[in-house]
Amino acid sequence: MKSPHIKIPGTTIFDGSEARRGYALNKMCYSFNEQAGRDEFLKDEDAYCAKYGLNAQQRAAVAAKNVLQLLAAGGNAYYLAKFGGIFGLDMQDIGAQQTGVSKDEFKAKLVAAGK
């Protein structure tokens, strides 16, 4: 039985419809588990994105390295983390980028949550 889902602000639940939209992008990111995949991407980003069949929205989001755009294109946080890793971005970089604050401000917010 399917019940109506609650809405959570600022959150996209990665369900079947997201998985369906984001498959190519997520599959490319999954390939970044391998050093060879990361190297090949860095050598020729266009060719690598084409190899995985990214659509225009996904391709633009990858070019912009913009996490909210990547999520909007069907990306899943766990696979996108592997994409972020290529550029040495940690979770506070990614958090700051998505919430529109500096990394220090984002870290301060995390500390404040423990008070």
Binding site: S3, H5, I6, I8, P9, G10, T11, T12, I13, F14, D15, G16, A19, Y23, N26, K27, C29, Y30, F32, N33, E34, Q35, R38, V67, L68, L71, N76, A77, Y78, Y79, L80, A81, K82, G84, G85, I86, D90, M91, Q92, I94, G95, Q98, T99, F106, K109, L110, V111, A113, G114
Partner: protein, 279 residues
Amino acid sequence: MAKIVGVVTTSHVPAIGGAIHKGLQTDAYWKPFFDGFPPVREWLAKVKPDVAIVVNNDHGLNFFLDKMPTFAIGTAPEYKNADEGWGIPVLPSFKGNEDLSWHLAESLIGDEFDMVTCQEMVVDHAFTLPLALLYPDMNWPLSVVPININTVLFPTPSAKRCYKLGQAIGRAVEAFEQDLKVLVIGTGGLSHQLEGERAGFINKEFDIKFMDSLTTDPQWATQYTDRELVAHAGTQGIELLNWLTARATMSGKVTEVHRNFHIPISNTAAATMLLEHAV
């Protein structure tokens, strides 16, 4: 006969792997987290478990969306860690316990939990880091059985279903004919959210309620749907399903031997608990 000697639950934030590698355990940022482990290690040295059942969630190392099991069990002779893509060091491999794995698979499927069995499985930080925190020399003194719960693709199994799975694992262990001391480990959590405009969400109050519930009212969290758990604990806070499953393997009264809770480690409310049967 086999018996469950205790349950250890702990966060598995990837950055912990980097901190271990760089030897930052006593660094001001990390100390409040790593200080949570000596009491657990003392308990382990005294109890000496033979095997660990590790309830964890893969993050896109072993499983991809091409095949995404809701519940899976490792039935392999060995489990290797591998490159996860963002540079934390690969840890030594783990010896499987095939006898217990196949017994659990048979018993759980007989009990109407349709586990996917995996004769090959690589394990990621959700599996390796808790073991490295418990056994810092990484010369693993026990064999392992991984149990994987899907927390990547929604719907996840419900908290209620995970609780029942834990109970079924507990029954299966108690019916296993080998004399084994079994430790159950639940990894991940507590509240955190990595993605979206809500990234950085942490809910201290909910985490404390959840930890308290594991001894006082263990089925408390089963009232929530997967999305309600996300609302309360963040998208990755749903990993508390691993904790709940691990807790449910113990029947009867349970005592909290130890707890550590520190905010933040990376983007996460980091917590560790040790539970054993009340005497």
